[in-house]
């Protein structure tokens, strides 16, 4: 989003209302994260819930505070490439771990 100061006062007012709403949502989700951890769920279930809430919170920050919801195509292309490499990076421990897909003991 490339904008010019003073040109879109009404737009900015709308943005500010969204920022406040997102802030409240992030606060509520932070409380939800801590509350879920108090339930002492099994590790796989706890990891699933914790990551799910973290992904929702992260998406809110990225979409609204970082304006990704209305960005140019080139930024999306850079991020898709980054996401692909990021997933590959996280998958490396899984596929190279002993008794994983590639290494057998």
């Amino acid at each position: 989003m490339e904008a010019t100061p003073g040109d879109h006062a009404v737009d900015i007012d709308r943005h500010v209302r969204v920022y406040i709403t997102v802030f409240v949502a992030l606060m509520v989700l932070t409380i939800v994260t801590v509350a879920i951890s108090r339930l002492h769920l099994s590790v796989p279930v706890a990891v699933t819930f914790a990551l799910l809430v973290a992904i929702i919170k992260g998406s809110l920050v990225a979409c609204y505070f970082m304006h990704l919801i209305s960005e140019k195509k080139l930024i999306y292309a850079v991020l898709i490439l980054t996401a692909a490499f990021f997933v590959a990076l996280l998958a490396l421990p899984v596929v190279t771990h002993s008794n994983g897909f590639w290494i057998h003991e």
Partner: protein, 196 residues
């Protein structure tokens, strides 16, 4: 010679050079933290046992720090919005609040770290603490880096507002993108280290 495409967008990318530059930098940061998260997964899944974070770390303090960092993201984006509304005085207040909240985060982290050291808990104590200090230490360096840049825009760098307000607004937006990224990383660090 003027730096090109600081205010006007390039026809081929539809973006200013600063915007594409900061996003490429953030992409490299994703890989940096991604490598450390991958290491964490590998070490944790390979360990015979792994402690729950809340048995070693202080969850109330970390929850407070999460709220502080999220609040600082809001004040950062409000600082940019103030410039878009051409309200420089309001920008200074919001940017000052962002820097102050970053400082609060660091003070809380100082108490957390010093308490661990006092209890004889160091990075060399266990794999969990090694990962904890590495990830939170690197994150803390990013907070300090972001605060230095924000302090520059709050202070001496703000002179640019008088001569080229559009460029200054873009620079604050780019600095904000970095700050939000630091917040985003913490959003994942908090449950990963403290709650699981």
């Amino acid at each position: 010679m003027d730096i090109p495409y600081t205010v006007e967008v390039r026809r081929d990318t539809g973006l200013t050079n600063g915007k594409i530059g900061i996003w490429l930098f953030l992409a490299s940061e994703v890989m940096l933290f991604g490598a450390l998260f991958a290491s964490y997964i590998l070490i944790r899944t390979g360990a015979p046992s792994w402690p729950r974070g809340d048995t070693i770390l202080n969850v109330p303090l970390a929850t407070f720090n999460t709220i502080v960092l999220i609040a600082s993201s809001v004040t950062m984006v409000m600082a940019w919005a103030s410039l878009m509304r051409r309200r420089f005085g309001t920008f200074r207040i919001y940017m000052g609040a962002t820097i102050l909240l970053g400082f609060v985060f660091l003070v809380v982290k100082y108490f957390e770290y010093s308490h661990k050291f006092h209890d004889g808990l160091f990075p060399s104590t266990s794999n969990f603490l090694a990962i904890y200090f590495t990830l939170t230490g690197l994150h803390m360096l990013h907070v300090i880096g972001g605060m230095v840049v924000n302090a520059y825009f709050w202070g001496p760098g703000a002179k640019l507002w008088k001569t080229n307000p559009e460029w200054f607004t873009n620079r604050v937006e780019h600095s904000g993108l970095f700050w939000h990224f630091v917040d985003l990383v913490w959003i994942f660090l908090f449950p990963t280290l403290y709650l699981l």
